[in-house]
């Protein structure tokens, strides 16, 4: 075991162990006394990777939706056997997802974690792509894309990202489009697989009824104990401009009421990852103070019948970008656009009271502790922290360290002079 360390949380007293296996896999083992165990095996590879190469090879730009397509295809085995069925027979249930930064394979079980864990590692590490099985998947994924296209909030979110960013790959739909996925071939999948599914690019998280030594034993058995050199991958990204992609987008679909979003980009490029996380929690507190259900603004709009309880302020950040979005539903979308805009320009530290700050911070502190009640939540949060080079406990520490002075400063600057992006979905004519 390399870099083996035990990381303990001072608040809950809980701890987990992290180490790097000889193969290069980063491993996190969190023994937890719940009935369900949860394991995730992920490649640091998501929809953001469109152009890349192994050092010394040619650059490759892949069709949109490849990472997600690859996730589907890894469930196909050369001998025709079914991966889900093997997990089910072991009393485990398998699944997978693809995000902007991660492709993750996972299972949960109330039985022993070790047999399904062997299955998890071996099926992910055993690609099998053919012309025929790739063609067949286009149909299934095409229907998945259709399904998301029929979901108003999915369309609203997508249009918001396309509005906010002019070139950043976050604009790209994770599943791609029917057109882009039609260009996917077994060769493209193998190139992506061989570039990003190298053990040194993988993260394994196991939470529940589990012992570190046995996890290590399974990895030894599968990958061997000899130290492997990491693969050198070069990634190329379009440079994001400071201007937005599209200031205003409007379209119609079958919704009962108009849906809208108001959003703006946040500049986080100069910050370290830890600073980005801390900043994210500070913004979170700020949004809770000014836009949540305990805020005067929300309650005023709600009482006036301008908004419904589908109203949510969201802050989202990746390593390379961050933004704030407010989603709302309203019969009078233009009045809501105006209300949000003029409110934003009026926000200042003078509207803040230290007791409000303490209350909101305390709520966030409690919410963070409650995530320890689920092995699933722990596994997600731990994996997410790990791919950003953070520990699971950094979140709690960040929340505890945010000061009132900081929030006051942020209140005076955060909403000022922002290039706002608006999206409106109107109900289609019946």
């Amino acid at each position: 075991m390399n870099n083996c360390s035990v990381l303990k949380d001072e608040v809950s007293g809980e701890s987990y162990t992290s180490f790097t296996h000889a193969s290069g896999v980063a491993v996190y083992v969190y023994p937890k006394r719940l009935t369900t165990s949860y394991a995730m095996f992920g490649a640091r590879y998501g929809s953001l990777e469109r152009t890349f190469r192994l050092t010394g090879e040619e650059w490759l730009t892949v069709p949109d939706g490849v990472a997600h397509f690859l996730e589907h295809k890894l469930f196909e085995e050369e001998d025709g056997s079914d991966v889900f069925e093997r997990f089910a027979a072991l009393g485990a249930s398998a699944n997978a997802f693809t995000s902007n930064e991660l492709t993750c394979y996972l299972f949960s079980t109330t039985a022993s974690v070790y047999e399904p864990l062997k299955e998890l590692i071996s099926f992910v590490m055993r690609p099998y792509f053919t012309e025929q099985n790739v063609k067949k998947e286009m149909g299934i994924i095409g229907q998945e894309i259709d399904m998301y296209d029929d979901m108003p909030y999915s369309r609203l979110n997508q249009a918001t990202l396309e509005g906010l960013y002019s070139t950043h790959n976050i604009r790209v739909n994770i599943a791609g489009t029917k057109e882009t996925i039609s260009h996917i071939t077994p060769e493209v999948l193998y190139r992506c697989y061989n570039t990003f599914y190298h053990p040194s690019n993988m993260v394994l998280t196991v939470v529940g009824n589990v012992e570190i030594e046995r996890v290590e034993g399974i990895l030894d058995e599968f990958f061997g104990t000899e130290k492997k050199a990491p693969l050198e991958v070069e990634r190329s990204y379009p440079e994001e401009q400071s201007e937005v992609g599209k200031e205003y987008t409007e379209f119609s679909m079958q919704v009962a009421k108009p849906l809208l979003s108001v959003s703006f980009k946040d500049e986080i490029n100069g910050l370290s990852t830890k600073e980005k996380q801390r900043h994210a929690y500070a913004v979170h507190i700020l949004l809770k103070l000014f836009f949540s259900r305990s805020s005067a603004f929300y309650n005023d709009l709600y009482r006036r019948g301008l908004i419904t309880d589908s109203f949510s302020p969201v802050y989202e950040w990746l390593d390379s970008c961050a933004h704030t979005v407010i989603f709302a539903e309203s019969d009078l979308p233009n009045e809501v656009f105006e209300a949000i805009e003029s409110y934003m320009s009026s926000i200042s530290s003078e509207m803040l009271d230290i007791s409000d700050f303490n209350r909101v911070k305390r709520a966030l502190y409690a919410e963070n502790i409650k995530t320890l009640d689920s092995t699933e939540d722990i596994a997600y949060n731990l994996t997410d922290a790990a791919i950003h080079g953070l520990t699971l406990w950094d979140a709690g520490e960040a929340i505890r360290s945010v000061s009132f002075e900081e929030i006051q400063l942020l209140a005076d600057t955060y909403f000022k002079n922002k290039h706002l992006v608006r999206v409106l979905i109107k109900p289609s004519e019946a």
Binding site: F84, I140, D146, K178, L372, S374
Partner: protein, 416 residues
């Protein structure tokens, strides 16, 4: 009262379920009530003050709502509060959150002895909006339409949100009298899940419900109807790319324990487990849809298949869905399918005690079934179900209704 001691969680959870038969008006009244109570109480007269108080108490969650269990409804109020050991400033979260909870439930904000008219009107409008917004989620909308058609003369068709006409007719006085009726007369099941001692939980609940008159235990009545002659077919259209197919089946002969567990397992083999016949064949082998799964209501003895399909594949999907059911009835079930379905249900049943919500829902369902099984009893009984049992139950399922929500929009992705 049901007391479930556990050291597992960082929270303490209290829930009170008030029970009644499902009614066309009583259900939306309960739904409105669950919203109105959270918009103001005598001690915390506005939503803003309620949310602030909850945040102060380390983000204590008070959740209220209505749940439909076959042809019964439960109006519930639940408190989930962080355990005292995490209070860094010595707040007695346990005590203060229970009195906060009590004030929301028992001391609502009233004017002239009834709920505030403006609050009731606002929540009526919000509920009407939600009823209209159901079309936003095409899968759930198609499921609801199928139920309305299939159960046109049964209480089972009522949704907890009610119809537009019913919601519009509610008055503040009527809502208040419904509230009094729940509190004064409805049978109550109370649950506690957490690490506090029995005596302390008992004392808190005694105090909370001290003014409550004794009442009878609830007995639920759900009508199980034999299948009608002929299949009802309804097709409607929506401005969507993908069509949604919902098929409703009745299993009228489920009376014994044995049949009950056979139907439970049948649901898993056929369409609710991750390796069900529908998933493996309709989606994986034939790529006819992105999802195709079943949902079984054991208390009503009905089973629904729902699927997202392209319009042109709907007929083929329907045929294949029926074909897979015949396969089960004819005994074409592999040992592996049987094993996987049992393993998948056992895994689910064992995981119940990992979530306070699942624990109380399981126990509530047992109370309504007048049964005292624990998840382990379910696992044992499911294990005894044989292939022959599945064949027998599958052959009693009869198709009642086929609802198709046809998509009339063209794809967006392809044009971009």
């Amino acid at each position: 009262m049901h007391y479930f001691p556990t050291e597992k969680f960082t929270t303490n959870t209290y829930t009170a379920y008030f029970l009644a038969p499902l009614g066309e008006k009583s259900a939306p009244l309960a739904t409105l009530l669950s919203k109105v109570l959270k918009k103001g109480s005598a001690a915390y007269p506005s939503q803003e003050q309620i949310v602030k108080r909850a945040e102060e108490l380390y983000s204590s969650h008070v959740v209220s709502g209505v749940t439909k269990i076959a042809e019964s409804q439960a109006f519930f109020v639940s408190l989930s509060a962080l355990d005292n050991r995490f209070a860094f400033d010595g707040t007695d979260i346990a005590t203060e959150s229970v009195s906060f909870f009590a004030s929301l439930l028992l001391e609502p904000l009233l004017r002239d002895g009834v709920f505030l008219e403006e609050t009731v009107e606002r929540e009526k409008k919000a509920l009407l909006d939600r009823i209209l917004s159901k079309i936003n989620n095409k899968g759930a909308y198609a499921m609801q339409r199928c139920r309305e058609i299939m159960f046109e003369n049964e209480a089972y068709r009522f949704s907890i949100d009610g119809s537009r006409e019913v919601v519009e007719s509610v008055t503040p006085a009527e809502l208040y009298s419904a509230y009094r009726d729940w509190l004064d007369n409805a049978p109550i099941e109370i649950f506690y899940i957490g690490k506090e001692s029995f005596s302390s939980v008992f004392a808190r609940t005694e105090h909370l419900f001290k003014g409550f008159a004794p009442r009878k235990a609830f007995s639920s009545h759900t009508e199980i109807r034999p299948s009608v002659n002929g299949v009802k077919r309804v097709t409607e259209s929506a401005d969507a790319v993908q069509g949604k197919l919902v098929m409703g089946f009745r299993a009228p002969t489920i009376a014994s324990d044995k049949d009950f567990f056979a139907l439970y397992l049948l649901d898993a083999v056929y369409g609710s487990s991750p390796v069900s016949k529908l998933f493996m064949n309709v989606r994986e082998k034939l790529s006819l849809c992105y999802y195709c799964s079943t949902m079984c209501d054991l208390d009503k003895s009905v089973l629904f298949v729902s699927s997202g399909v392209e319009n042109e594949s709907a007929a083929a999907a329907e045929k294949e869905i029926l074909q897979q059911l015949s396969e089960i009835a004819e005994g074409n079930i592999t040992d592996k399918e049987l094993l996987c379905a049992k393993a998948s249900l056992s895994d689910y049943l064992r995981s119940i005690d990992d979530s306070p919500y699942s624990v109380e829902r399981f126990m509530l369902t047992q109370a309504l079934r007048e049964s005292s099984y624990f998840p382990n009893d379910y696992i044992e009984r499911l294990d005894q179900v044989t292939k022959e049992d599945l064949m027998r139950v599958a052959s009693t399922l009869s198709l009642d209704t086929v609802y198709f929500l046809e998509g009339t929009a063209k794809g967006v992705s392809a044009d971009e």
